[in-house]
């Protein structure tokens, strides 16, 4: 849900801009990298089943470096929530409520997210369990109704812009799939940790296939060039669908998008709060919650002046930051645990 909730609207447009008719292939590449990433996180987590990254980073790197790294992750999660909040307000401002100030949406969402964070991770997971089937059902309905209008010739010629363009286009979805890195902080909370790998791979494959279908649907209906020109190509597909008297199904996309974003922001907000509380050994999370809420409300409008800025950041800057925190650092930490195997054995 964390991966796909925001990806469904943005990924088709971003990937088609670079890889044109072969954009769907870049999603499949991201899926494969996502599985590798999950394996990395799983094997790292298995070495410290009762600890989060912030705790074992201090064991592996020393107290100071460990804290610096942990703080880096807090900033990373904050960046994700700020980006998501900005995408959320841009989406509503562009498509539904142009006159409403962004702060109103962001404050409303943060109130709901704060409520969820106070109640704990289990509540967030339960909400996700409730939303997920509705989410998948809505997507399935939209895709099924779009099938008859798909023109598969829009997927030709295969790899017209070359393999490199597809690899380049896959960086953004890889960054999206890599957001499963949240597991390094949630590993100790999972009841049956041994099932993480199996269930995780299943989840990533399901999300990847769904995202591939969404990308194929937008490409085959609107063509690669037009898809690549749009911010929210999948919303436009929902607007397009007309089956006998069934039409104006964009409400389904809005439902999917808003509910998915609530869960995603709540998870990020939870991680930001709990990591900071643990890092500074605070007694109460009240002030951290409030401070982070304010940051999450102010930063989306302070850092990005327009959706053009968000698009530029997502395409050109975000992949390198994301891949550092999602692949590089967990990879290096795993390498370190292998090297220091004997030393960390007692924490198993």
């Amino acid at each position: 849900m964390i991966v796909i909730s925001t990806a469904i609207l943005l990924i088709p447009g971003i990937t088609a801009e670079k890889a044109a008719e072969s954009a769907w292939l870049s999603v499949l590449i991201a899926l494969a990298v996502g599985i590798v990433d999950l394996m990395l996180i799983y094997y790292l987590g298995r070495r410290f089943p009762k600890l989060t990254l912030s705790e074992y980073a201090e064991i592996l790197l020393g107290k100071t470096l460990g804290k610096v790294l942990t703080f880096g992750y807090v900033l990373f999660f904050l960046t994700i929530s700020v980006l998501v909040l900005r995408e959320f307000t841009d989406f509503l401002n562009m498509n539904l409520m142009p006159e409403t100030p962004p702060y109103v949406f962001q404050t409303g969402l943060m109130i709901v997210a704060a409520y969820a964070v106070v109640k704990g991770i289990e509540v967030i997971v339960r909400v996700n369990q409730f939303i997920l089937p509705l989410f998948i059902l809505s997507l399935a309905v939209l895709l099924a109704l779009a099938v008859r209008d798909m023109d598969l010739s829009n997927l030709q010629p295969f790899l017209d812009k070359g393999v490199l363009s597809v690899v380049d286009a896959s960086l953004v979805p890889i960054a999206w799939f890599g957001q499963i890195v949240v597991l390094v902080f949630l590993f100790p909370k999972v009841n049956q940790a041994e099932d993480i790998l199996r269930n995780g791979i299943f989840g990533i494959i399901a999300a990847g296939i769904l995202l591939t279908f969404i990308t194929v649907a937008t490409l085959t209906v609107f063509g690669p060039e037009y898809t690549g020109d749009m911010y929210f190509a999948f919303l436009y597909l929902a607007k397009y669908i007309k089956f006998v008297t069934i039409q104006r199904l964009e409400f389904l996309v809005i439902f999917i998008w808003v509910s998915g974003i609530v869960v995603k922001v709540a998870v990020m907000y939870y991680l930001e709060t709990m990591t900071l509380v643990r890092m500074f050994s605070l007694q109460s999370k009240k002030y951290v919650l409030l401070g982070l809420a304010l940051l999450n409300i102010i930063l989306p409008n302070l850092l990005f002046e327009s959706p053009v800025d968000v698009g530029h950041f997502l395409k050109n800057i975000w992949p390198s930051i994301a891949l550092t925190f999602e692949l590089l650092i967990p990879g290096l930490l795993l390498l370190l645990t292998v090297i220091k195997k004997k030393k960390v054995g007692r924490y198993h």
Binding site: M97, I111, D160, G223, Y226, K239, Y240
Partner: protein, 410 residues
């Protein structure tokens, strides 16, 4: 006790916050609009010209009259009558300014969420189509299935003609595009998303259905109190090259376009054919097409195969035995080939590949296509096109060979 109070207080704050959020979002926040404050736009048009070197845009729109005012205007007439829409126009140096100027004439806010589509004036289509389309594509209320047409002459004049039947003009136009344009062979059902997709494509050109003013036949004119002498008709296509209108396709060339680019399965398209001086009608009910690009010795050519199925009802005295049908089919095939060839010739004259032949080449042989670079339209013009048509007669209606009418007395 203290703990319980704290818990309750937090619970109340939580519930209050959620209720407040619900109240804000469900009422639409700042974007809240009452239906009475909206002007429902049903069909828009844009014209462009230059006066003394200055851009002049004319935006015109049909707005649905509120039911109360329809009653005042028309007494007990049906609410769907042609006058249920009001024409509002505005002019300005930019498109947006022209829109703002017609909006200023209204006490309500124009709402485009239920617009059926847009008509582009001839001059605007020739000179400013890409800019206009981009403007529409950026506008959030534009829907992918909005219809798009190009007017012969000024688009605003088309809106003035209103409907000829007892319904909204906008509904009349969109119904024709949805149900009849392609199926009758009169035009082509084009929608905004498809037009943009073709315009932005790097291997094909686009077309739009043509709408034009026609004088009304005397039996179709309205009462003397309200004389209506002109109506509008959707017929033929406007051809775009690199996003600009470059010419028109007549009725027969439009059928050629459909034969060469569409899988027709909801005919019938009526095609008059002549055999030995006798005219009869071929009712084309379905057709398929295949375009095969062939590249040999750096020469590009296209082999086109069209297969049609149809019916003959109006035989004008021709006998329809099995042998007769076998003789008629090549005649029909020849006629269809002539129509398709004329369309290809017209496409080459306009240097506009709206038939999608270059797109086929791009799909089949990307290397050759990329080697052409920006010269792909030239390559299309120079390419040999070989058309083969196989027409079948699959029905002769409810009669056998001939209706034997009693001959005159000797």
């Amino acid at each position: 006790m203290n703990k319980l109070l704290k818990k309750l207080r937090f619970k109340n704050i939580g519930i209050f916050s959620i209720l407040l959020s619900l109240l804000l979002f469900c009422s639409g926040c700042w974007s809240n609009k009452e239906v009475e404050t909206l002007a429902f736009v049903t069909l828009s048009s844009y014209d462009y010209t230059q006066i003394n070197g200055q851009d002049v845009w004319t935006a015109a729109t049909l707005i649905l009259k509120p039911q109360g005012s329809q009653g005042q205007d028309e007494g007990k007439k049906s609410s769907l009558s042609g006058n249920a829409e009001q024409l509002v126009t505005g002019q300005g140096p930019t498109m947006q300014d022209a829109i703002r100027n017609y909006s200023a004439k209204l006490s309500t806010v124009p709402f485009y969420g239920y617009t059926t589509g847009t008509i582009i004036g001839e001059e605007a289509a020739k000179k400013k189509a890409p800019e206009m389309i981009e403007h529409r594509a950026r506008f959030p209320q534009t829907r992918p299935r909005d219809i798009f047409l190009v007017a012969k002459g000024e688009a605003k004049e088309i809106l003035k003609t209103r409907g000829t039947m007892n319904q909204l003009f906008s509904a009349e136009v969109s119904q024709f595009i949805d149900l009849k344009a392609t199926n009758t062979g009169k035009s082509y059902g084009m929608y905004f998303y498809k037009f943009v997709s073709w315009l932005t494509s790097n291997d094909r050109d686009a077309v739009l259905p043509q709408i034009k003013i026609i004088p009304l036949e005397s039996d179709n004119k309205e009462s003397e109190a309200n004389p209506k002498t002109e109506g509008s008709i959707i017929e033929g296509l406007g051809v775009f090259q690199a996003g600009h209108l470059v010419g028109w396709l007549d009725e027969e060339q439009t059928i050629g376009f459909l034969l060469l680019t569409q899988k027709i399965n909801k005919g019938p398209i009526s095609i008059p054919v002549q055999k030995d001086g006798t005219m009869f009608n071929y009712f084309l009910s379905s057709s398929t097409y295949k375009v095969k690009p062939v590249v040999s010795n750096e020469e590009i050519s296209y082999q086109v195969t069209i297969q049609t199925k149809g019916e003959i009802d109006e035989n004008n005295g021709l006998r329809l035995t099995k042998e007769d049908i076998e003789q008629l089919e090549p005649v029909i095939s020849e006629k269809l080939k002539k129509i398709a060839t004329a369309t290809v010739k017209q496409a080459k004259t306009y240097k506009a590949d709206f038939l999608g032949f270059s797109e086929k080449l791009h799909h089949k042989d990307p290397k050759t296509f990329h080697a052409l670079g920006s010269e792909w339209r030239e390559a299309f013009v120079n390419a040999q096109v070989e058309i083969n048509v196989k027409a079948k007669i699959i029905s002769t209606g409810r009669l056998k060979e001939e209706l034997e009418v009693n001959p005159p007395n000797e």
